[in-house]
Symmetry: C2
Subunit: 391 residues, 2 copies
């Protein structure tokens, strides 16, 4: 049996998403500006997808949504424009992010710091989230942007964005959020969540990799990152648009919206069953309170077991999970969540995560629990630091 539980990195493509892409993969589609039937087909596909994006996010009609190759490009676009429009012009001098941002934000912030920008990195609390009050220590009239992810890429912890926005608004500082791990897992309504910018990506919502979007509230300025821009809708991003990807993203956002209740109830039930099963094993601990976490994710520590060894053992039984330590992030190291949560630092290398999707089944969860138990028993049988008692 193959059980895929690494859905916070790449989700399988939904057959309906593929269905929306297929006309563009099987018939000629033209340049969006082309004065012929193939151009018309592209414009129709583009408009259909864009409407679905606006609807799914409850974006206002004067707001801007444009397509990118994914949230890293969306994030880089925004932080580079902060640099060219706000920092270089001397209008602003600082950026506030959380220390648990996705890698693209962390790297862009490090680059900005090299250019002399003041970067404040807010630590997360013992609950794994940003404390909105901590913002007030750094917010000034010269803060160019606050960028805090809506959901932690690894733990699934949900940041209190509405409160963060409220505080930033009182300082007239714009807020960006990377919602890549939030879309389809928590309701996103841009009428009530008053962020100025929002990034999202196809690969976490059952669209393929290589497509994403950047949302900007009306009155916000935008400079392209990639040259080759033309008239609208290609004003903010150069190149012929990734139309099959756009059609897929539109459909995926529609499905994410429609499936939200399922994700929040049925998927949560499966995740909770997995979590209860893990909690019943000895020497385990799950991180972040249920109420503060997206319904598809759980992160657990397994005492006396190396994350990579456990991933390897699980994979032998066809189970795909993730660890928080596999990426050599170079100089931009994300601080360990384990330490922030006040846990034994040794557990940093014994943390494994499971990210479900709407495709997982009860049978898969039972199978995972059974094999997880066996894997732990096996790995601990030759571990010098295994817990003494077994459940």
């Amino acid at each position: 049996m193959k059980v895929y539980l690494d859905n916070n990195r790449v989700t399988p493509v939904d057959p309906q998403v593929l269905g929306a892409m297929e006309p563009l993969l099987k018939e000629p589609y033209g340049d969006l500006h082309a004065l012929h039937w193939a151009g018309a087909a592209s414009r129709k596909a583009y408009n259909t997808a864009l409407e679905k994006c606006y609807a799914a996010l409850h974006a206002g009609e004067k707001d801007t949504i444009f397509f990118t190759s994914g949230s890293p490009e969306s994030n880089t676009t925004l932080l580079m424009q902060l640099y060219t429009r706000q920092i270089l012009t001397g209008r602003k001098n600082s950026l506030i992010i959380s220390e648990r941002e996705p890698l693209s934000i962390l790297q862009a912030a490090a680059w900005l710091e090299e250019q002399g920008v003041k970067v404040h990195r807010l630590p997360v609390t013992e609950e794994g989230i940003v404390d909105p009050e901590s913002l007030t220590d750094y917010l000034t009239p010269r803060t160019g942007l606050v960028s805090i992810c809506l959901v932690d890429p690894e733990s699934g912890a949900i940041n209190p964005l509405e409160e963060i926005v409220r505080i930033c608004q009182s300082y007239e500082v714009p807020v960006h959020t990377d919602a890549t791990w939030a879309v389809g897992k928590v309701p996103i309504d841009l009428e009530t969540l008053e962020v100025d910018y929002l990034s999202l990506s196809g690969e976490t919502i059952h669209a393929p990799t290589g497509i994403g979007a950047l949302y900007a509230r009306k009155d916000t300025e935008l400079s392209p990152l990639i040259f080759g821009t033309r008239s609208a809708p290609e004003r903010y991003r150069g190149g012929p648009l990734n139309l099959p990807g756009i059609a897929g993203l539109g459909k995926a956002l529609e499905l994410a919206s429609d499936a939200l209740d399922f994700e929040m109830e049925d998927a949560r039930e499966l995740r909770d069953a997995l979590e209860e099963g893990i909690a019943a094993l000895s020497g385990t601990q799950t991180l972040i309170e249920w109420s503060r976490r997206v319904p598809n994710t759980l992160l657990a520590t397994f005492e006396g077991v190396e994350s990579e060894a456990l991933l390897y053992e699980l994979n032998r039984d066809g189970i795909a999970a993730f660890s928080t330590t596999v990426h050599p992030y170079g100089e931009w190291v994300r601080p360990s969540l384990i330490e922030r949560l006040g846990l034994d630092p040794a557990l940093k290398h014994s943390t494994v995560g499971f990210a479900l999707s709407r495709y997982n089944t009860e049978e898969e969860i039972d199978y995972t629990l059974k094999h997880l138990g066996k894997a732990l028993e096996y790995l601990r049988s030759f571990s010098p630091v295994a817990p003494k008692e077994n459940a």
Copy 2:
């Protein structure tokens, strides 16, 4: 009948390319660094595609090829790194391009100029190509880069890149070429064509939009444009890789290589038949000598007829062609080829192009010629400037 003759902008996806993408669109594929079966599937797909890219381009094993969202991103990456590594550090102060570069190069060059970089734009000759000797007027030890497209995006004229490279080498100035309109139409052998950098894009070689690559010869430095980079192979470009696109691009490059003889002989025959048919109509003129042009493209002027009106008429009969005047390029206007070729400037608005692919048939060409003749007759029947005699 539908006849698609706008293949220099977007080509239809080859069924074999879709076949290479489908496993990644129908089964879970993981993050490239993931320690499980889905990650392994991705690594395998990635490696297969990368090998095909190296083989198709005859790239050396120490050379770098990395994937982008298309040639605009490849071009922007390179020109921004010229800025950050060579210009800002004071090592270099100028850039040489041709005036007929793709929009992403023209815009990036305009941006660099705003930052104080000297930008020299070489005009094309009456043959529609860059005169290599004209480079020597501008090349200095402080020239950071020469960027000249291998094939003109509109006319299909082939620039004498080998000679350009030879001259630049004598000044030790690196050369970049955007080969988006060349791949699959002329042989590209990086063992003999000693450019330092080369951009290419999926949408002109029967892969979908949204995927492309940047090639860099060994010993060349590269900085990422999009943050979120990880360890190799994601060192030069942030974000989860567009794996379905990469698999498609690899296959498309392989097919482009395999189909090159066909494109150069059979497709050329069809194009030539179309060209002869057009030449036989009154008040027409085809641009750029056959021997200096890719085998799939022809650009012709139609006296007394507006390009857009002709495109519209052709489209009524299902024929998709292109004009050189439909894009409002904002401030970055590409000089008119018509004037450079020494033709009547009025013909600027009477130019229509036809770009074939390996999918076009003799029947389609016959159909196109028949309807083109009718369209011209109809449009000229109420044109104040139509040619007096009809053929």
